[in-house]
């Protein structure tokens, strides 16, 4: 007589149970995430008569708007994420110290994170108004600028505005993620280094920073991919303007599709944006597995 297998895969109802548990999310994902992505690819390679064409891509790749949007997106992501990581790291180091009301400060940190981006962008739009908004005037009163600057109607200042608002919204989030990483470092490692005679900078350089690299890469990954898809902030605060000075890829796709009703151009932009995202994911994947190998602690 053959031996009975104990492999659970041969257990009665294994497959059925598996399908029952997993299929709902697969269905949702197929319809509302994978189908739209594929449909966009189809749109981008066809004309209005449903015939194959490369014209959609040709048109956007030879025009300047798409490249400008790409550049703006890259610039926005790089600048805002760099600022957020540096400030977030400093805040996390501060939050990791012991002081009265530390828990309250952590709670306050959740406020910018929890605010809807569209709402906070509305608030920033008010604060940046030239004639009655507080920020231009504070800059002027502090003699940082010669007159209250026009934030939203000058291209460079509008770009600075979205960076500023994004920093405000996301620094606390980065700080909390990095703080979790800091708190995961065992205390006795610091004590050992102190006893061995190290000063604070030595500890930061040789202990905190290398042990934080995994947490830093995770935070960086999430933030960069999130920043790359920025829409709400720009749509509400600058609407991509003035001119196209803040027209990142997401608002550009939206503008092509729903304002200019050029669905196929929008689809082509969306497809290339998706390729950017896939490229980023691959790069991040490789970096992380490298960091993982080099600095794995467990």
């Amino acid at each position: 007589m053959a031996m009975q297998s104990v492999n659970p895969k041969h257990e009665k109802g294994y497959l059925l149970a598996l399908i029952g548990f997993v299929s709902p999310i697969v269905v949702f994902f197929t319809i509302f995430q994978i189908y739209p992505l594929i449909k966009n690819v189809w749109f981008s390679f066809t004309n209005i008569h449903n015939n194959f064409t490369l014209n959609n891509f040709y048109a956007i790749l030879t025009g300047s708007s798409f490249w400008q949007s790409t550049w703006i997106t890259v610039k926005f992501s790089l600048i805002s994420v760099s600022f957020e990581m540096v400030i977030g790291f400093i805040f996390a180091l501060l939050l990791n110290q012991e002081f009265h009301g530390r828990k309250a400060v952590r709670t306050i940190f959740l406020i910018p994170w929890a605010l809807p981006t569209a709402i906070m962008a509305t608030g920033w739009k008010f604060m940046l108004q030239h004639s009655y908004g507080p920020i231009p005037w504070i800059l002027y009163w502090l003699h940082i600028t010669q007159s209250p600057p026009y934030f939203l109607s000058m291209p460079k200042m509008a770009f600075a505005s979205i960076i500023m608002a994004d920093i405000w919204k996301t620094v606390p989030f980065c700080a909390l993620l990095l703080l979790a990483g800091l708190q995961a470092i065992p205390r006795d490692l610091y004590e050992a280094m102190e006893v061995d005679g190290a000063g604070w900078f030595f500890k930061l350089r040789k202990l905190t920073f290398p042990l934080m690299l995994p947490a830093i890469t995770v935070t960086l990954t999430f933030r960069f991919l999130q920043a790359f898809g920025v829409f709400d902030l720009i749509w509400v605060l600058t609407n991509g303007g003035p001119g196209n000075a803040t027209m990142a890829l997401s608002p550009f796709i939206y503008q092509q599709t729903f304002n200019w009703l050029d669905v196929r151009a929008g689809a082509a932009t969306a497809v290339i944006t998706s390729i950017y995202i896939i490229g980023l994911v691959v790069v991040i994947w490789i970096t992380r597995s490298y960091v993982g190998r080099r600095y794995a602690t467990q």
């Binding site: 598996l18 929890a114 906070m120 509400v236 796709i253």
Partner: protein
Amino acid sequence: MKKFFLYVGVILMIFFCLFPIYFLLLNSFEPTSVSYSSPPILYPVAFTFSNYIGVFKDISLGSYIVNSLIVSLSATAIALLIGSMAAFAIAKIKFKGSSTLLNLLLILGFFPAATMIFPLYEMFAKFHLLNNYLSLILPYTTMSIPLTVWVLSTYFGQIPGELYEAARVDGMSRFQAFYKIILPLGIPAASTVAILDFIACWNEFILALTFMTKENMRTITVGISMISGRFSYQYPWGEIIAGALIVTVPLVVIIFVAQEKIISGLTAGAVKG
């Protein structure tokens, strides 16, 4: 001396987080004449509730809030239900490709909504679902699934396997073991995820902007940011700000009640790497 610099740093951090809130609070309680003065006045000079009353009278803020609540709560509930099932399968039934599925969920979650918005729009238009709650509930559910499955599968994974095995040995079916044993134990993690999912749905903008074109179907994020368009002569800043603050209140309440849960949920992935 070290303490001194620490407290200076802490005060700067608090200032960083709260200065916009201060200006908004200030102006929401000022009459229009004050908030429009140039240069602005950075301290309270007058006090009025008119903005708060106005925002309910002039704008259908009440219905925005109801709309947001309906779509966010429904999507959160569905995502929790089907997400916890999948998380259970990944953590306890174990099958080939479960880690691929997790990674796929994560990566798909990174695609900006703008890259898939038109096909969704076309689909909902075809099924006459535009200006219908379903047009938001369904994509919001999808959007909430990656986080839900990630956090819950990690949590279920930490529940000792013996518990599930004991339940099976005692004669429960897989589904019984799931909802009688594993699910009750997962409530702490599930409530964390529920809060994070709810906040994400409550804050969503681009889909709500696109699929809810009728004014009375708008959610609060779109509703508030679109107020400006209704008054061509002048932005009703006082009312806009008052509205923004009103919709912030529930979020701040959630934060104060559940800050530990939120932080643990947010940072679940960061520590493990």
